[in-house]
């Protein structure tokens, strides 16, 4: 299983702040989002595929095409605006 976290506007688009997905061989953040198209709100996949969100796996920043492992916690992170 992969635990997926959404933050800020992405959580609003998703209507939730987290979900769980079945792990698939050779899964990457990009392939995961593509597999969500049509299943989750269109705003969410549009934002993830076309906007500038970043991705973390287990609290470490990774690239959109990095391989994921079963059990990972994957977080989609919109541009930061703290401080």
């Amino acid at each position: 299983m992969i635990k997926v976290l959404f933050f800020a506007q992405l959580a609003e688009y998703a209507g939730r702040s987290s979900c769980e997905l079945e792990y698939q061989a050779a899964m990457t953040p990009r392939s995961m989002v593509k597999s969500m198209v049509g299943v989750v709100p269109k705003e969410l996949t549009d934002a993830l595929l076309h906007d500038v969100a970043m991705v973390a796996a287990n609290e470490v920043m990774i690239a959109w095409d990095d391989a994921l492992s079963d059990g990972d916690e994957v977080a989609f992170l919109p541009p930061f605006s703290g401080g």
Partner: protein, 155 residues
């Protein structure tokens, strides 16, 4: 000595200062930054922000802030640093963030505090939504904040 506290409740400047000083008994210089919720939008029009809502990635935010403070210490060695960042609903005028650095010399204290603030804006998993006369709007990363960070990488 680095201390990071991401929390909902407010902070008291006098208490935070005392805590920092207790961690840095040989320091000769302390620099603090306090960020407050402004009631203005970025374009400074007549519209007003009523409050902001700050969310974050609990755990990762603390790790990133700690890492930013360590990087600051490598460039501008200091005795102690302290970061308090509030999350949740914060009214206009409320305190958002406290960054303080105690050092032997003032130049390092100023530089480290500014470095930490600049990176906190661009590299920590915190998100701000403005709620006011323009409705609810997530704040994007500001271009001048990105430039502030770039300045450190080029110097």
């Amino acid at each position: 000595m680095i201390a990071i506290d991401i929390r909902e409740h407010d902070f008291n400047i006098g208490d935070e200062y005392a805590e920092l000083c207790s961690q840095a008994p040989r320091a000769g210089a302390v620099v603090f930054f306090v960020g407050l919720v402004r009631d203005l939008y970025v374009d400074e029009s007549d519209d007003r922000v009523d409050h902001i809502e700050l969310s974050h990635y609990a755990g990762m935010t603390e790790t990133l802030c700690e890492s930013i403070c360590q990087q600051a210490n490598e460039r501008f060695p200091y005795d102690a640093a302290r970061v308090v960042h509030r999350v949740g609903k914060l009214a206009a005028g409320a305190q958002i963030v406290f960054v303080a650095v105690a050092s032997r010399h003032r130049e390092n204290a100023f530089q480290a505090a500014q470095y930490i603030m600049d990176y906190l804006k661009t590299n920590a998993t915190l998100w701000k939504k403005e709620v006011g006369s323009r409705g609810e709007n997530w704040v994007g990363m500001k271009e001048n904040d990105q430039q502030a960070t770039l300045r450190w990488e080029q110097s």
